[in-house]
Amino acid sequence: MEKRLQFRLTKSKVFQWIIILFAFLITIPLIAIIFYVLKTGLSKISWHFLTHIPKPVGEIGGGIANALVGSLLIVMVAAIIAVPIGILCGIYLSENKSSKIAYYSRLAVDILQGTPSIVIGIVVYFWIVKPIGTFSALSGSIALAVMMLPIVIRSTEETLKLLPDTLKEAGLALGLPYHKVIMRVIVPCGMSGILSGVMLSVARIAGETAPLLFTAFGNPYLTANILKPMQSLPLLIFNYATSPYDEWHDLAWGASLLLLIWVLLLNITTKWITRKWKVQL
């Protein structure tokens, strides 16, 4: 009897250690990547790197200013498009839990969330780039906005669903019009959850490359014209990483470090915000 029990207890202990081992093994690739990018990229970053555009092929020097500005612009425009629409849609879905339209809309959001980013790139090419006749940062922003929307919508919906109905009813009972109740009472209460959804979506698309391949296209010059092609950090990394030029590899590493820091900072800030708000995202 004792031996059987001992065996079972040891089996349990061994299992526990195996689980712990396998669970923590995931830290290895993460640390390896962060460490590698940090090590290789840090030395490449300098004031010159941040303020100059790439030099012609084969010449040393140059920087990634066009990609930095490009990324910021494209992401900003995408957010301007996606955030208002996303929040409003999230409000609708949280307010109309059982209507037919809400059901299909929610289904559409789920479908879009799982759609591969390259498919979105193809579709936006046909919707925007071909009719307008030129590649543009705007079409890239639109593609990224389509990817941001599901994340913003879901987090808004989930956040608002957590708020007690009594809040809304109190506002309505006092005679407030519906839109005031939503915009001045409900949304401000859910702001941190909504905000973290927005930041997560920005973090997600800041690193997206595939949709930009056929929309924003790339540009060796610094430009702020969103109706023209524009360079962005992920595009630069992709193109330069697969090239044979060592100077370009250096630029790609510096760019990778900046991109990684940007994305990780957004994620960490989001976590800090949600800790106050316990949102299930």
Binding site: T134, F135, P220, Y221, T223, S243, P244
Partner: protein, 350 residues
């Protein structure tokens, strides 16, 4: 809000397509796409042109096939391809497209064998057999017999090729089809073929990157890429039986033939005794009639002026980047072609 952003940038936006036209006036940008073969030269030329005139030329090297497609879709001002338009492409575009030669270059067989210090010699059949997958190791007798005295290792050959539609591939496979009957039957020549074996890289850049990182690799890339990245490349036996080192001189020798009026000609398997057999032109492609999609006249003029500069003052940058400049007769043919570009029927260049 999006509409107001668009409206800010030019009057009437009632029809799509007007956008492209209206976005000029003071617009000092041009958009081009295509060949990766010529990209190192363009990169330098456009940077210098920008310093001279302030015009920013955004050229994306997505491969000749990509350049042709984007030109067909009218999403770029000009394309560049190392393969002239084939019948289907010409038919699809429907209107005349001018081919303006920009320069010629050499497609070299670059390889990654750190232990081999001498330059390898390759014959047409050996090259074909390597890319057909028939020769699998570097110390195969077919290779050693041509390279007497060179110690070749027993490493497997890793073949690399283009994964995208490429004029460079077209030059290389046209050459192989001419010199090797098996290759001519299958897989044949083209910008994008069904490779029997090998890894794919995107653009000349991608293939060069693959070769550089993979020991035992061999691939075909433009000379500039090999030299800029300090990669080894082979001497190839030409029609006359001589083993020619790819260089500006041997490319010029191969290109020293009269050009037809439309400038479409292949330089592969040249008859010239000291010509490099895998050379080719690269052509800038523009619509002959430039007023399409409500393009502004300034834009068309800027474009033609840019290309005019490329075939004249721009040629000074060729040799430094290991491209062969156009011969005088080639320049006159190019000039004639450029002069035939029209806007609403009237020639753009006077």
């Amino acid at each position: 809000m999006v509409c107001s952003l668009i409206a800010c940038n030019g009057g009437d936006n009632t029809t799509p397509g007007k956008m492209a036209g209206n976005a000029s006036g003071g617009d000092k940008t041009l958009l081009g796409a295509g060949s990766t073969f010529v990209y190192p030269l363009f990169s330098k030329q456009f940077s210098e042109y920008n310093k001279l005139t302030g015009i920013k030329v955004n050229y994306q090297s997505i491969g000749s096939g990509g350049g042709i497609l984007q030109l067909t879709n009218k999403t770029v001002d000009f394309g560049d391809s190392d393969a002239p338009l084939n019948e289907e492409q010409t038919q699809k575009i429907g209107v005349p497209v001018l081919h303006i030669p920009m320069c010629s270059g050499a497609v070299v067989l670059s390889y990654n064998l750190p232990t081999v210090k001498d330059t390898l010699k390759l014959t047409p059949d050996v090259i074909a057999n390597i890319f057909l997958g028939k020769i699998k190791a570097w110390n195969d007798p077919q290779i050693t017999s041509v390279n007497a005295g060179v110690q070749l290792p027993n490493t497997p050959i890793v073949v690399t090729h283009r994964s995208d539609g490429s004029g460079t591939t077209n030059i290389f496979t046209t050459y192989l089809a001419k010199v090797n009957t098996t290759w001519n039957t299958k897989p044949g020549k083209g910008s994008s073929i069904n490779w029997p074996i090998g890894l794919g890289g995107k653009g000349n850049e991608g293939v060069a990157g693959l070769i550089k990182q993979t020991p035992g690799a061999i691939g075909y890339i433009e000379l500039a890429y090999a030299i800029q990245n300090k990669m080894a490349f082979a001497k190839v036996q030409n029609k006359g039986g001589n083993f020619i080192t790819p260089s500006v001189a041997s490319t010029i020798a191969a290109g020293n033939i009269p050009l037809p009026a439309d400038a479409k000609v292949s330089l592969t398997n040249t008859d010239a005794a000291d010509g490099y057999p895998i050379s080719g032109f690269t052509w800038a492609l523009i619509y002959k009639e430039q007023s399409y999609n409500n393009r502004a006249q300034d834009r068309a003029t800027n474009l033609v002026k840019l290309l005019w500069w490329n075939i004249h003052e721009g040629q000074q940058y060729c040799e430094g980047l290991h491209y062969a400049p156009l011969s005088t007769s080639a320049v006159s043919v190019a000039e004639a072609i450029l002069k035939s570009a029209t806007y609403n029927g009237k020639p753009i260049l006077q």
